[in-house]
């Protein structure tokens, strides 16, 4: 009896409620992504400060780092090496990459959200947007 009641309630879930549920899920996902990247960026920066206290006292050694160098990890392999060494810079870079990924993940999640809402038109539109994003990402890399 009780089970039947629950079943009825779910089938009565309106499209509006479904949309609302998805919106809250996306909102929480974004908040989590942003918070996690913030923790990594701040933690990584503090760690590298702790290791290089000379940055805090000497303007010269700091200046060195804002001039173009190759010291910055700019490949995933370089990042992995840095992370294994527990380098503060690498942790901060991981946080920055996570931040960069959040809008892309948001579009990706929206595709599934529209599938869940059985909204064919918007599943198609969002999937096309996602493909265009990947395309511009891939084209940029070639250049």
């Amino acid at each position: 009896m009780n089970q039947r009641h629950t079943h009825q309630a779910t089938s009565e879930t309106t499209v509006e409620e479904k949309v609302r549920k998805v919106e809250l899920l996306i909102s929480n996902l974004l908040r989590f992504g942003v918070l996690a990247s913030l923790v990594l960026i701040i933690g990584g920066t503090l760690l590298s400060l702790a290791h290089h206290s000379e940055y805090l006292t000497s303007g010269v050694s700091f200046q060195r780092f804002i001039e173009p160098t190759d010291a910055v990890p700019h490949s995933l392999a370089g990042l992995a090496t840095g992370l294994k060494a527990f380098s503060g810079t690498a942790i901060a870079v991981l946080g920055i990459l996570l931040l960069i990924a959040t809008p892309v993940v948001r579009v990706g999640v929206s595709i599934f959200a529209f599938i869940y809402q059985r909204d064919r038109l918007y599943t198609l539109i969002t999937a096309t947007v996602f493909c265009l994003l990947l395309l511009s990402f891939a084209l940029g890399k070639v250049e």
Partner: protein
Amino acid sequence: MNLLQFDLSVLAISVVAGGLGSLLGLGGGIIIIPVLTLLFHIDIRYAIGASIVSVIATSSGAAAAYVRERMTNLRVAMVLELATSAGALTGAYLAGQLAVRWLYVIFGIVMGYSALMMFRKRHEALDEFAVHAPWADYLRLHSSYYDERAGREIFYRVARTRVGLMLMYVAGVVSGLLGIGSGALKVPAMDLAMRLPIKVSTATSNFMIGVTAAASAGVYFVRGDINPIIVAPVATGVLIGAVVGSRLLGRLHGTTIRLVFVAVLLWVSGEMLLKGLRG
């Protein structure tokens, strides 16, 4: 200057950039790039890399609040994003084949004109049901959001979707060519052509610029332009500013947002004109 002083001053400026950007639907680039290059003498490469991340941080920091309050119209954003990403691809293809100088002049004038039109619209009320809009009907773009300031749900209808799509394509081409945040073109297009409420326009633009910036950020990372020493305080500050700004948007009066946007747009338009005319 040592690193701590640098971090703290960049952090403070970035909070302001993130707050303003999240309210107005613009990336923080217009503040971040001049501050980093002129004030801190940072290489332009790193400044642009930091500005790309700041656009994403503005967008993602504000997004949680805007999605929850349904300030962002996700359907409008996705439909328009089709045109913008197609435009950005065209722009990237055309880059280097066009005399960019005159584009600065042309879009400086376009932005100045948009600012004027947006200023003139400040007393107009939303017409909730008047517009005939077959495309927006088909795409189910009409929506509503809860306006904290007004204390009620605001229903709105979306007009001239095709014009909006064309303008978004152009905005995409321009941002691909000139590398400027296209938020300055997106908000006027949504406000003037599609007649979205100003708060919905800025919040939706906010979402879109983040998505577009994320697509191009990979290139900057691979090139090594994203320097954590510079990006860390920028991203942290912008995120904090955007979270605060997005909480504020609901409470502010629409006209206030409009007037601040018009002022910033005039400033950007002047900068573009100068850049184009000086050569």
